[in-house]
Symmetry: C2
Subunit: 640 residues, 2 copies
């Protein structure tokens, strides 16, 4: 069978996500199976039936105190003016907390209220009332009481009451077996030698761990080639051995997207495409009464589709409610546009600045796994909403604990490799702190300080008139704000070039004349401003530069692009060239400063940050990279 | 060595918890160890060092779309009025999403924008711009970029980027080994035959699971007898094999509480007693540079002490922040009194009634494990606060997801065994719902409705004048509220007596004359009101009844007490007697009704509850217990 047999399908459905979910949940016939397991192994498992106590705790009359057991009625005459003497073995017995009360005693007097006369005799000056300081049978657990209903997720202390109730083996819901089938000719195992066009298969491992986390039992199949017959036989086999099947990629409408046709042939397709982004090209169907979910190949789409459809199936199987994420109301730092007719799941960075939560969208590209990993939350734009304006408030589902977000230092501005080192050192000093950085470029970094969206901005902006770095920009853009410009690093900028510099680039004129494929930075980046200045100084128009519009967001990204093209050239910092083993021709020595509000600079977090920057260990680490010089004993630059 | 050698110490220190914690954290010298593990097994583990990408993703120029690869510069003439034809292999190549862009192509045109002329020829009507629809190298992950700092807890998607960055083995923090030593002559394994004075050892299993949950590696030692020499040798051995030692019980000041003396002898005691309840009698010390934590024997004290001191040690070892619980502001349904000078950790039930969170304290007895298991949250009363008034608002740390609390139906009132069954059926119908019941007695149940603390109250209150159940009480106490009284069950009350009825009890007069040890119910319980009525009808004073003041909070608890005493007698419902295999002599047929506000009765939850009550399966289950009759096709009782 080849691509001619399976007609290419270009358009997907736009079924509402809730409807698609309802349909598979209804089709998911529960083979609800119970297994008996030892209670001590049951952490996180789900009770399959109500569980009752077999015995009471305590199961006897137990002393609640250290003291003596007496017959209360025989102590009624005791009084301060009329002490009562009692004999060991006849009138009282010694009991510690938890001891059984020996017959015929029916009360306990605390040891602190007893006077020892001799080894055999004590004296009391206050009567006891019947049953005082005696734990009733079943004070904690009463035999036959229900300890847990079915559907309860067992926590550590729950295991204690089960054991105390002598329930040593308990019925729990079997974990649903979820077979995960990665498909694609382009996929290779993670330990393979990489060649062009080959992609490491990692979605399967991620799926398996999500499923484990959600209470399922994942089985990760080996990679299956894009061969309809093979895919078909693997699917049929999985339908026999699993409760749920997840097949990765081939779910869209490309020339090798057979999956939907195969499922239609050997089973039923309920849905092909939901009105939600990313994650739209999903397939929901059934093969031999087993639900099959076809998830898109792009990682972020895949993880969302898995959460939308596989998690509810697992929860239904276990008879537990679907967990909901904590939400927080955030102020939007940027406008968010969303097409009508489909939900949009936007990954957001959230910062806690000046006492409020501020959030900005990360890239919406479905292929950028790091944007999911780095996201603090998800903003779900409903299908009938076209977006939100900057400054509006919106509810965001949290992907990290709120506390972690609250303690993060928000860094915006120019990309520099040392920021990661700084974050590492900060975390070492205070495990609950870190730096969250967004590489938006120097100009956007200053704007983030102005808009109250960042604590610190890293900038390197050369003023073509004064030939001075940063100060004139800060004075102009942050006029009226009480800010500090702290000298952080001196660093080398230069041409990043393929190994051996095959085009022989030395100056900006060479970039033009030798027709280099230029790899540029985004607008507002300090490096771009530097490049534009070089062009202007040499009378070159940006239109003359090949691929001037090809924008990268970091020095490393520029280096990676140059690395893939023997005619490539970029402008960036030395360590980026060094990391990729590329040539580097110095162009400028830059002053990379940190801008922050004075209130942050003087806060506990701000002081800690400055302490770390000036620590010998950080200086050593930075200078080891090369191309950097830490400014020693730095003081804020004068702004007047 | 016997108890004479170790002098009994009656008083404990009152060290502030924060100080005690700071001291052991400072004494805890980090043997920070790193282990390399396969990335695919690393879920939940903590990175020990910053981890950088070994390769970029994508590591080649990849097509971002299904379509054709072209040389952008050669498409510039394409126009709607001037279509451009391109030849396969010369002018273009077919590419699917993810495919490498073959040289010399530098742009991709989406398949939707291409017209097929023949097998070899296509036509386009729009030019391409260079690098359009091509994923730059490193769009997702750039080689050498920091994927995670140290101290990051790995989540499913994190494993994906590690694999994508070809980090197949990663350095994670070794889990700290925590040895748990249960001590006590009274302890027996959970599978033992129970005899008087013997207690099932279950704390060890609970500790082990808490420690597992917090990221440690628990090692549960077998039970050690109360023998100082044995305890000493086990502690010394544990100090060699573990990072942290937890020893359970013996931490207080009783006659067998050697632990503090032993630790002092072979190591150092930092703290014996903290100003916090329960959990006060804790020991913090050091043996051969290993921290040892002696936790109290009572389960709730033990779990709190473990959380206060062992969790921070594990977090410090792993270099991660201590997680904080979500909190919620609640209205207090009852006054909470707390002694000054010590923090109080009060277990709370939280209900969401009439749009607000209302919380009530559970028992504060440290031995009642179920109160910890049933708690929705912890109210921490600071040392310098003497408590809170009823109606005040306070912040409570959540022990369950807020969603679960929001969806629970709050049941207050008289204890009945069928309420658990009802909760089970409700959960089967809607996995996210359940009934949370507090057995406070009929009168307190009605009051809970009046105060807006419960959705439903179960009552059985006989009016001595009208001989009618419930109506007169509801009319009086809930005057002015729009409520519904829904007939739920008819049930038999009677004397619960030891097997064979050794005292030959038939009437209330027999209770008096045959000197039965009476097991009473708490004030306000319908059963107590019934007993008082019987006493009055027969002219008996409550003072004449033996142990009239001994109060239990449920029918099962009464039965458990009777079961332990051949002269015992109680009043309660048939199924409680049956559950303990006791004798039962019927006294009255009761009407057990449910009281709820009309707004709850008419809500979705209310309707579901009534549907379940009237379902054949629930009726069958209830009648199988015996002593019950479900009211069929019930309608609310008339209140006028």
């Amino acid at each position: 069978m080849d691509r001619k047999t399976y007609k290419r399908k270009i358009y997907l459905e736009d079924k509402p996500r809730s409807q698609a979910k309802r349909e598979i949940l209804e089709a998911f016939s529960l083979p609800f199976e119970i297994e008996m397991i030892p209670t001590s192994d049951a952490l996180g498992r789900v009770t399959a039936e109500p569980i009752f106590a077999n015995v009471s705790m305590p199961h006897y009359h137990a002393s609640a105190m250290d003291g003596i057991a007496v017959i209360a009625e025989k102590t009624y005459t005791a009084h301060e003016q009329n002490p009562l003497q009692l004999k060991l073995g006849i009138d009282f017995a010694i009991v510690d907390t938890g001891n059984a009360i020996p017959s015929p005693f029916n009360a306990v007097i605390m040891i602190e209220h007893v006077d020892m006369i001799d080894e055999e005799t004590i004296e009391i000056i206050e009567p006891a009332t019947p049953w005082q300081h005696i734990r009733p049978i079943g004070e904690d657990i009463v035999q036959e009481e229900m300890l847990f209903p079915q559907g309860h997720i067992l926590r550590p202390a729950d295991l204690g009451v089960l054991l105390a109730g002598q329930q040593l083996q308990i019925p729990v819901a079997k974990k649903p077996v979820v077979t995960i089938i990665p498909t694609g000719n382009e996929l290779v195992e993670a330990d393979s030698e990489l060649s062009s066009g080959k992609i490491i298969e990692f979605n399967g491992t991620v799926f398996a761990n999500f499923i484990k986390d959600w209470g399922g039992e994942p089985r990760l199949h080996r990679i299956v080639k894009d061969d309809p017959e093979q895919i078909k036989s693997v699917l049929l086999e999985a339908a026999q051995t699993s409760d749920i099947i997840v097949i990765n990629a081939g779910s869209s409408a490309g020339s090798k997207d057979y999956t939907v046709h195969i499922i239609g042939e050997i089973g039923t397709v309920f849905t092909h495409g939901v009105a939600a982004r990313p994650g739209k090209p999903v397939i929901l169907g059934e093969i031999n009464e087993k639900i099959v979910v076809g998830v898109p190949g792009y990682p972020v789409s895949a993880y969302l589709a898995l959460e939308w459809f596989v998690r509810p199936l697992i929860c239904k199987y276990l008879q537990i409610p679907e967990p909901k994420r904590q939400t927080v109301s955030v102020k939007l730092g940027r406008r968010i546009v969303s097409g009508m007719g489909a939900e949009d799941f936007v990954r957001m960075n959230i910062g806690y600045v000046n006492g409020q939560f501020v959030a900005n969208p990360l890239t919406r590209a479905a292929g950028v796994t790091m944007s999911y990993v780095r996201a603090d939350g998800l903003l779900i734009v409903p299908a009938n909403v076209s977006g939100y304006e900057q400054g509006e408030f919106a509810e965001v589902e949290l992907l990290r604990p709120l506390e972690e977000i609250k303690n993060a230092i928000m860094f915006a501005g120019s990309h520099d490799l040392t920021i990661d080192l700084l974050s590492s050192q900060l975390k070492r000093a205070r495990a609950d702190m870190k730096i969250v950085s967004s590489h938006v470029g120097s100009m956007a970094g200053i704007m983030a300080i102005r808009k109250g969206e960042a604590h610190v901005a890293g900038i390197h902006l050369l003023d073509p008139n004064t030939k001075q770095y940063n100060i004139s920009y800060v004075k102009k853009i942050l006029a009226g704000l009480d800010v500090v410009v702290f000298p952080f690093l001196k660093r080398k900028q230069g041409w990043i070039l393929p190994k051996g510099n095959p085009l022989g680039i030395e100056t900006v004129v060479d970039i033009l004349e030798k027709k280099a494929n230029f790899v540029n930075r985004q607008k507002g980046a300090g490096t771009r401003i530097l490049f534009d200045m070089l062009l202007e100084e040499n009378g070159i128009s940006s239109e003359e530069i090949i691929s001037y519009d090809r924008e990268m967001f970091s020095h490393l990204a520029v280096a990676a692009e140059v690395n893939g093209d023997s005619h490539g050239a970029g402008l960036g910092i030395y360590p980026a060239a060094k990391a990729m083993n590329l040539d580097f021709v110095p162009v400028a020595d830059e002053e990379y400063d940190l801008v922050m509000t004075r209130s942050f600079y003087e806060s506990e977090s701000g002081k800690l940050l400055i302490d770390i920057i000036q620590s010998p260990i950080f200086k050593r680490q930075v200078e080891k990279i090369g191309g950097y010089e830490v400014v020693e004993n730095a003081e804020p630059k004068k702004l007047v």
